[in-house]
Assembly symmetry: C2
Homo-oligomer: 303 residues x 2
């Protein structure tokens, strides 16, 4: 099953050097989810060949412009190109009011159903569950209300060990039960445990998105053991004070967090406009957490 | 004196083929004015080497997203890069409320003074006058309240005919008076009319911006005799009905308008996403009004 993330925007508040404000597209089993939607996201989607009407769910972390100012344009364009499917947006208090005010003044009546779900930065909440995954919010620590998002792949059923069930001669009709944990008793009374008749599935994968936040221990419980951690790394550690003052993180701190929570891989982004060259951020993070990659626009990262 | 317009965005509502939503930069004697501010305008300004903090006045025609969704991002970035100069925005009712709601939720307190002036689409009003020009709004006819903008260069004083005043021996101290229309009486009683001592200035130039609107006669009085008319030309004339239904104009109609008002030159833009190739729009307009040019992003047009 596919579980990948495409970086659409990697800059912090000021777009520069061809970098755009934050947005990411997540593909889980060919279903598309958008996380944050900075200004210009609809153009980035076109650039990277993504049909925006395939997106059914959009998650907004907080109401700083570089994380959501592309939203009204995107949902308006979806309307203009004839979208019929419903769209769900998950975002902080205030987002609904902002969207409604825009559409009031533009006199836009969307041709599709738009559902705006208000998130809370005080708790850890599951906001979406479907056949593929579970998405939950968790509180980050930023200047204004801000949540992270964790994407957990559903636990998959084991696969049937075809060779073994054929040898034993188990009726096909019973295989779905065996996959779900029922043992098999043969006509001669022999009991075959379901575990020996199946092949264990790959463990479910997880992705956590943390932008924007100062480094604190408060959100670490929610991102334990993720396969891929996206964490903002706005500054180099020599600017640690500035990072704290602006409720942001340094590349070194992002690496420390990845190590502390036992993440398998780390993806850093949300780069300050002061860094034209990103290599120093990568090197700093790798000095603490080797499996770091830079979030680069247009690149897919496998989870 | 410089009086030029730079196209930053040429598309209608859906950005495509590398075209961006509407925005234009006007340079009048090295002072910069922005007209409309579609999503991504701040990135377009960077691309074309314009320091956004040189802009002191922004004019917004109406509250369809493709004409103003880049505004919050732009004025936020001005704040982030340390702007101190005041900024004036002229736009329709509702714009102030939208901007204030964004900044309420992002908890942004601008470090510079922002003045939002509400325009009315029911009248023709001068909204700005300074040493170089006069800007007035006039009502267009769109689905929602929408104004055009007319930029009129101030009448310039004549230049002194240096050769003549030297030959006659007119004291330098009197030259400013002569420029302003005072005759000169020589010691021998000869009267020299100021007209014979000066060289007439070039007539003041004018630029009119019409986007978005259906073709009507109601706004023609306000754009008479302009040197350069920018007029939207969303569709080819074969889609005249669709243009009328959506309160837009065809390339042919834009040309008819340019001819009717006696414009010297016509610039067409706001192209529908259905036209990858713009040549048919240009040819159609030129068939009626020869001095037509396509608005192309990144190109400066002299007024």
């Amino acid at each position: 099953m596919r579980f990948d993330v495409l970086i659409l925007g990697s800059s912090s508040a000021t777009p520069i050097y061809g970098r755009h404000p934050t947005a990411q597209l997540i593909n889980v089993n060919e279903q598309l989810y958008l996380v944050d939607c900075g200004e210009g996201t609809q153009v980035q989607l076109i650039k990277y060949g993504v049909r925006s009407n395939r997106i059914k769910h959009i998650f907004i972390s907080h109401l700083h412009g570089d994380h959501y100012l592309g939203l009204i344009g995107l949902i308006s364009s979806m309307h203009l190109v004839g979208r019929k499917d419903e769209l769900h947006i998950y975002g902080p208090p205030g987002l609904k009011e902002i969207i409604e005010l825009h559409f009031l003044h533009s006199q836009t009546e969307l041709r599709y159903s738009l559902y705006i779900h208000t998130t809370q930065d005080s708790t850890n909440n599951v906001v979406l569950e479907n056949e593929n995954l579970r998405v939950s919010t968790f509180p980050l620590s930023h200047r204004i209300a801000c949540t992270g998002f964790r994407f957990d792949e559903n636990k998959r059923l084991p696969a049937i060990d075809r060779e073994k069930v054929t040898t034993i001669g188990i009726p096909t009709a019973l295989l779905p039960l065996i996959k779900r944990g029922h043992d098999y008793t043969a006509p001669d009374g022999t009991v075959y445990r379901w575990q020996e008749l199946t092949i264990a599935p790959a463990p479910p994968r997880s992705y956590a998105y943390c932008s924007d936040t100062v480094k604190t221990s408060s959100y670490l419980p929610y991102i334990q053991q993720v396969d891929l951690l996206y964490h903002e790394a706005t500054f180099l550690d020599e600017m640690r004070d500035r990072a704290a003052a602006t409720y942001h993180t340094t590349a070194l701190q992002a690496a420390e967090i990845a190590a502390e929570v036992g993440a398998k891989k780390l993806l850093i982004g949300h780069y300050s406009a002061r860094y034209k060259d990103l290599k120093p951020l990568l090197h700093e993070s790798k000095s603490v957490f080797g499996a770091t990659q830079l979030a680069l626009e247009g690149k897919w990262y496998s989870i």
